[in-house]
């Protein structure tokens, strides 16, 4: 007698919680071979807005944490991912139709990328900031600070886990919070990553993951006045110019789509792109 399996209900990840879409909608996730795998929540405009609210509430705590602390929290994600690697390998094999070796290599790369970015948390300021020798009795220093909320369209092709991590990790390093639209047809890695995040030390609301249609959700994030930056990394097949135009209304910082295997290659650029340089003039005086 075979045991009856228990299928999982896949939900969104907003504010550290796992809600269904308020719209009540789901869509089918198919394996590469075409078999039904699961139903995923189909996020709506309201879900996207709830995610922005959660992300805004989390900015103060996450950006206010010490850089050392943020680095450790990001490293902890890698630890937990390592512990659940088998699950990620299985899901990647079924949704992407790749070999065990390729799936395993993708998970390795994703874990290593978290580690690489984790190490930057307490260093990027030293690389991107500096003291400025101004002509006068002032101590003048420039430091990069997080931009705020970054909305991301995760890569829709290529490795579903690696693409997501490559987009989300750099945005978190400086202390930004994130609303990310996962790979539409292969969202299992994103959903499982949300379970990793929920049990790691990442505060609720720092990463919010929406499954569903990027074409439907992205315009609401691009035009949302409380979103500060827009990463169109995986928006290459959408009408991304329209998204960039919508983002201009509140002068969001926008990164364009990238394609190919080198998309979102690990780079300090990706960290610094979501920062603002603050320059402070301190008056010197012998009082």
């Amino acid at each position: 007698m075979t045991r009856l399996a228990i299928p999982k209900t896949y939900k969104l990840y907003i504010g550290g919680k796992f809600p269904r879409s308020e719209s009540g909608r789901v869509y089918e996730i198919l394996a590469k071979k075409g078999d039904f795998l699961a139903n995923a929540a189909k996020a709506s405009r309201k879900d996207a807005r709830e995610a922005v609210v959660a992300a805004r509430a989390a900015v103060g705590g996450w950006s206010g944490a010490t850089a050392y602390n943020r680095g450790q929290v990001l490293y902890r994600i890698a630890e937990l991912l390592e512990g659940r690697r088998a699950q990620f390998v299985d899901e990647i094999m079924s949704t992407e139709g790749v070999s065990a070796a390729a799936a395993s290599a993708q998970v390795d790369e994703a874990i290593d990328r978290w580690v690489w970015y984790a190490g930057w948390a307490d260093k990027y300021v030293q690389v991107a900031g500096n003291a400025n020798p101004v002509s006068g009795p002032f101590f003048n220093i420039s430091v990069p600070e997080p931009t705020g909320i970054v909305a991301i369209v995760a890569p829709q092709t290529g490795g579903s886990l690696l693409g997501l991590v490559s987009a989300v990790a750099p945005a978190l390093v400086a202390g930004n919070t994130v609303v990310v639209i996962a790979n539409e047809t292969m969202p299992l890695s994103a959903i499982s990553l949300s379970e990793v995040l929920a049990t790691s030390d990442v505060p609720g609301g720092v990463v919010n993951i929406l499954t569903g249609s990027p074409a439907e959700i992205a315009p609401w994030l691009a035009s949302h006045a409380d979103v500060n930056a827009l990463d169109l990394l995986g928006a290459g097949s959408l009408d991304w110019v329209d998204l960039q135009i919508a983002a201009a209304e509140t002068l969001k910082r926008v990164l364009p789509p990238e394609n190919g295997p080198d998309a979102a290659t690990p780079s300090v650029d990706r960290i610094v792109a979501f920062t603002e340089t603050k320059t402070v003039w301190h008056t010197k005086g012998l009082i």
Binding site: V98, A102, A105, Q106, D108, E109, D112, W116, Y124, V127, A128, G129, N130, N132, P133, V134, S135, G136, S142, P144, T147, G159, G163, N228, A229, W240, V241, Q244, I245, A247, A248, E249, T250, L251, R253, V254, L255, P256, E258, P261, D262, A264, T265, P266, S267, V268, D269, R270, V272, A273, F274, T275, E276, T277, K278, T279, V280, W281, H282, T283
Partner: protein, 512 residues
């Protein structure tokens, strides 16, 4: 005659050798524009100074084509050190013609001669001197070895600091190896044309810098030109937004330095004499035509009355009048249009219930003038606390705790600058950390330096001018390995690096 009355001390205009009309500066030559020329006037007298050429679309094409030829030709063949030498030459020529430039600037813009002479023009020279030294040190700009220039830079500048904004734009662009087409503001083209003469004196290769004059549609044609690689704009948030929309989907790299509504926060332990001077400098410098002006005074409730009394006393001693007079503190409003906007917004302030105080000073008969004005009883929702007035108008709000001051300071879509006045060092550091603004002055205000990055958060734009970030805004990494900064330039220098252990093949394999 009371002790404040001085005999007039006008700076002589004899040093000027102006022409009656100016052409466009394209490919190293002055050429006639194909649009209808327009006069530039002295805003203190409303008298015309000279006729300015008007560039139409065909002129814009010519200017961009000249910049492209220069970029592909002589400019790209020069070594960094030779590019630097041209910039050093320009810096020296600006110093040698400093008084002439200052007089022309005050004549055309309306700003007091003591500002154009002691602030604007010295900073122009300093900017060229600073970036001259960068031209052969680009490996240290923060983009890895051998960073590449972008190509042709389209630069559009405002009327509040005509020559200084020109320097902020041209100096880093040339140091990085780009060529330039620059459009000055419609009402303040004069010093840009004198600067073109300086470029001829410096023997800068033809086409490296092209200066085209005209109104908004000339600027629009320039930033939308398909053969432009970089757009740099300083001006209003409304126009910046339109530019961001129009370059969407292109590979043009964009930096925007836009409006502001800076909070100048005065705590009850502030060094009060210095704070009063700082408040005055913050909002009345350059008639308040400053994007980073301290236009919202946030004063701790316990010292509100004392600060206001002393402030009114100090403002009553400011001299408003002839911009060329060496004793003038407040010059002319730059244009009739700007005066109208200031007048409308201040009327709105009264309508919405704020209390108005205006300095009792004589207003000259001709020209555009606005007496220094303070509004008290202002609340955060008032238009005069939210909109950029860009005039000598201060809105005063109060606070009780540092947390309230921070919340009020950040309650604006802008984020360009802020001021903090307190004797407590730890408080300066804590408050500066929490203010969402690109430039913060602690116990000082309105300081500028070529080594110091300047630019905003939020709707005050993106990108920085000055310092190393200001150079990086005109460069890209040597390879196109990642194009993460092509459209939205990061605020700080992009720094290339990748994990050393990763090989491209490993990444490719994993991504498949």
């Amino acid at each position: 005659m009371n002790f404040l009355d001085y005999a007039p001390a006008p700076e002589s205009q004899a040093i000027l050798n102006l022409r009656s009309d100016y052409g466009l500066f394209i490919d190293g030559q002055f050429v006639a524009g194909r649009g209808t020329p327009f006069p530039t006037i002295n805003p203190a007298t409303e008298k015309p100074i000279a006729m300015i050429a008007n560039a139409n679309d065909a002129d814009v094409d010519d200017a961009v084509a000249a910049a492209r030829r220069a970029y592909n030709g002589p400019w790209s063949r020069l070594s960094g050190s030779d590019r630097g030498k041209y910039l050093f030459r320009i810096a020296r020529l600006v110093q040698e013609r400093a008084r002439e430039l200052a007089v022309a600037e005050s004549l055309d813009n309306g700003k007091p001669i003591k500002e154009s002479r002691d602030v604007d023009v010295p900073l122009v020279a300093a900017w060229f001197f600073y970036y001259a030294g960068w031209a052969d040190k680009l490996d240290h700009a923060g983009l890895g070895p051998n960073p590449a220039s972008l190509g042709v830079a389209a630069q559009v500048i405002p009327w509040n600091f005509p020559l200084l904004m020109l320097a902020w734009k041209i100096a880093p662009a040339l140091a990085a190896g780009n060529t330039v087409v620059l459009k000055p503001a419609e009402t303040t083209s004069l010093t840009a044309m004198l600067f073109a003469e300086i470029l001829q004196q410096a023997d800068l290769p033809a086409g490296v810098v092209n200066i085209i004059t005209g109104a908004g549609n000339t600027g629009q044609a320039l930033v939308n030109h398909p053969d432009v690689n970089k757009v740099a704009f300083t001006g209003s948030t409304a126009v910046g937004r339109a530019i961001a929309r129009s370059v969407a989907g292109t590979d043009k790299k964009l930096t925007l330095e836009l409006g502001g509504k800076a909070a100048n926060i005065v705590f009850d332990d502030a060094p009060i004499d210095q704070a009063i001077e700082g408040i005055v400098n913050g909002i009345f410098f350059n008639q308040g035509h400053v994007c980073c002006a301290g236009s919202r005074l946030l004063v701790q409730e316990s010292i509100h009355d004392e600060v206001l009394d002393r402030l009114k006393g100090r403002i009553s001693t400011l001299r408003l009048g002839d911009p060329l007079d060496k004793n003038t503190d407040i010059g002319a409003i730059n244009s009739a249009a700007q005066l109208k906007r200031i007048t409308e917004l201040t009327a709105m302030g009264e309508q919405e219930g704020a209390e108005r105080w205006t300095a009792d000073c004589a207003i000259p008969e001709n020209g555009f003038w606005f007496a220094p004005t303070i509004f008290t009883n202002v609340s955060t929702s008032h238009r005069i606390a939210r909109d950029e007035i860009f005039g000598p108008v201060l809105s005063v709000l109060t606070f009780r705790t540092p947390a309230e001051a921070i919340a009020k300071a950040n309650n604006t879509p802008y984020g360009l600058s802020a001021g903090i006045w307190t004797d407590k060092g730890s408080r300066i550091l804590a408050v500066a950390d929490k203010l969402r603004a690109g430039v913060i002055w602690a116990n000082t205000f309105n300081r500028f330096d070529p080594a110091s990055p300047f630019g905003g958060y939020k709707e005050s734009g993106y990108g920085r001018e000055g310092g190393r970030p200001g150079l990086a805004a005109y460069l890209k990494p040597a390879t196109s390995r990642h194009r993460s900064v092509t459209t939205a330039a990061p605020a700080a220098p992009a720094v290339s690096a990748a994990p050393a252990a990763k090989t491209p093949s490993a990444r490719k394999k994993a991504a498949k």
